[in-house]
């Protein structure tokens, strides 16, 4: 009998914390998304004031053009940043996997962008893009790309590109670190055999290295896609969703609606919709992953 309950005893603390601070809030959030809760949270104290309005909040979100433009922008942001991070990260990992002097030091330095807090990264790049004193603004003007100093963060397209660049710089290091760790654990004899068989370096990359790296690539892509899809900090600091909502991403929209405007129910409904998207990603990725592994 004791043996039967023993594993559950070890699980109790974790279960309690996740139940109270994750599971219950998720259910509560679903509840909030079906009532009309705006501004005053103390309305919840009195059950008579809970007015269940069914799917109205969800319909409001889906009818809102701001939601759709934010969704499209979030997808663009996710695809572009994760795409660049993967290509650059793979290239860096392949270079750092070669033999060269001070290799340990160089690999160690790759940890810096990864360890740099996202908020600091956002502040740093916001300063690079500053309309009057920014290094990048100045560089673009000097090189003749812009006609004098321009306000990069005040135009929708350039602001989005600027934010994506900042995100790509930081997170490329993460992808590079994961892929480098995986590259180091690959069996060396396959490469020797390929060399004997006269396989060209470029072919080696696509026919040996990338297939062997597939599990690590997938993990890096899953983690980065999830993170990019819910990007918040970098938007909050660099543009606050502006100009004119032009860099509004879904997480920021949900935050703004609930925490700034007090539309908790709209925010909750939007957050549930985001969760559904995240679950779809997860299922797709896991399907591919397990299919590859057989």
């Amino acid at each position: 009998m004791i043996k039967k309950i023993r594993p559950y005893v070890y699980l109790v603390p974790a279960f309690l914390v996740i139940l109270c601070v994750t599971l219950a809030p998720i259910l509560y959030s679903i509840f909030i998304s079906f009532i009309d809760l705006t501004k005053n949270v103390h309305k919840l104290d009195n059950p008579n004031l809970w007015s269940f309005i069914g799917f109205t909040n969800y319909i409001n979100v889906l009818k809102d053009s701001v939601f759709w433009s934010s969704l499209v922008r979030t997808i663009i942001f996710t695809v572009v940043t994760v795409g660049f991070e993967f290509i650059l990260g793979l290239a860096i990992a392949l270079i750092l996997n070669e033999k060269f002097r001070a290799r340990g030091l160089v690999r160690g330095l790759m940890l810096i962008p990864w360890a740099l807090p996202t908020i600091v990264n956002a502040v740093l790049w916001k300063w690079f893009y500053d309309a009057d004193h920014g290094t990048i603004t100045g560089l673009l003007a000097r090189l003749g790309f812009t006609d004098g100093y321009s306000n990069i963060l005040s135009h929708t397209t350039s602001a989005l590109i600027a934010i994506m660049t900042a995100d790509i710089w930081k997170n490329t290091a993460f992808v590079a670190l994961i892929l480098l760790a995986a590259l180091q654990s690959l069996p060396k004899d396959i490469y020797e055999a390929a060399k004997v068989d006269g396989v060209k370096p470029f072919q080696r990359l696509f026919s040996i290295t990338i297939p062997l790296l597939a599990p690590a690539i997938l993990v890096a892509l899953i983690i980065r896609t999830m993170e990019a899809f819910k990007a918040f900090d970098i938007i909050y600091i660099m543009t606050g969703g502006g100009p004119g909502g032009g860099t509004q991403l879904l997480s920021f929209l949900a935050y703004q609606q609930s925490m700034v405007f007090g539309n908790f129910s709209y925010g909750a409904a939007l957050a549930q919709i985001m969760s559904i998207f995240t679950m779809i990603f997860a299922v797709i990725y896991i399907r591919i992953f397990y299919k590859d592994r057989g």
Partner: protein, 283 residues
């Protein structure tokens, strides 16, 4: 593999390009923190300051005494240290117990439990921010570091359990079995065998949790509005919130806030890389 001179040249060219890509923003950041306000606010493109100064570093710790709208940086630093260390400690203890059960015992609902930890890891934070804010606001538990610690612990648990149960599973069971025959309790086995052997995995997991709680901003910005409770990420964001952006203070605060995670990452480099590769193998 032997390389020709030509290939060597391209490898070094690649390494130099990688270093420039990685370090240029960091070097510009360090130089900027050592520049005077005049240099930072000049409209000419220059990479080195006209004169070097530590004024930004002294300013950031004293500014609040001249201007009440500036969050006290020292207090924020202290709050962040308390929150991230407590979160890491609490998360590790709870996750070690849970991972031990998952990796060592057979029980009903084991697989479902493991899958659901993965699921909880993927919930967007915003989906939890709204209900947690509503709940904590009603109970008046805002501006309380304990609330933040509890929330961060809950966030990091699924990830920590997932990592640790992987490390625990890779330990052979033979030693434990003889210990059980000698009458050692299951808790004794955890303390005497599992913990020492998996120490590197526990350190790696702890560092990931520590950095995640040090970096967190969205919850901290909502759950802390008094100077006594603001964390360092919130303080940095507010150096810009006043009408005029004080870049000198913002990037200097940013550099100081980056030092603990960067130093930790460099010291524990081996653990982090092994943690990342473990993670990439086990998903």
């Amino acid at each position: 593999m032997e390389r020709t001179k030509n290939q060597q040249f391209f490898i070094y060219l690649g390494v130099i390009a990688v270093m420039i890509f990685t370090l240029a923003p960091i070097i510009l950041l360090i130089i900027a923190t050592l520049s005077s306000g005049q240099d930072l606010n000049s409209k000419t493109l220059h990479f080195l300051p006209s004169h070097w100064t530590l004024k930004n570093f002294t300013d950031i710790f004293t500014a609040e005494s001249n201007d009440a709208s500036v969050p006290p940086f020292m207090q924020a630093l202290k709050n962040s240290i308390i929150v991230s260390l407590s979160t890491t400690f609490l998360t590790l203890i709870i996750a070690i117990l849970a991972s031990y059960a998952i990796s060592r015992f057979r029980f009903k609902g084991q697989n479902g439990l493991l899958m659901s930890t993965l699921g909880f890891r993927m919930v967007p934070e915003i989906a939890l921010l709204i209900p947690l804010f509503v709940i904590f606001a009603r109970f008046g538990a805002i501006n309380n570091l304990s609330s933040l610690i509890l929330i961060y612990t809950a966030f990091n648990l699924p990830f920590a359990i997932w990592m640790l149960q992987g490390f625990f599973r890779s330990i052979p069971k033979s030693m434990e079995e003889s210990a059980y025959l000698d009458g050692v309790s299951s808790f004794g086995v955890l303390i005497r065998f599992i913990l020492p052997i998996s120490l590197s995995g526990i350190i790696a997991t702890g560092i990931f949790v520590l950095l995640a709680s040090w970096d967190e901003f969205m919850f901290a910005s909502i759950f802390t509005s008094t100077y006594d409770s603001k964390t360092i990420t919130v303080a940095i964001s507010e150096f810009s919130k006043r009408g005029m952006v004080n870049f000198g203070m913002q990037i200097t605060g940013g550099l100081i806030a980056s030092l603990p995670p960067i130093i930790l990452a460099l010291i524990f480099q081996k653990f982090i890389v092994s943690g990342l590769s473990e993670g990439s193998e086990k998903g």
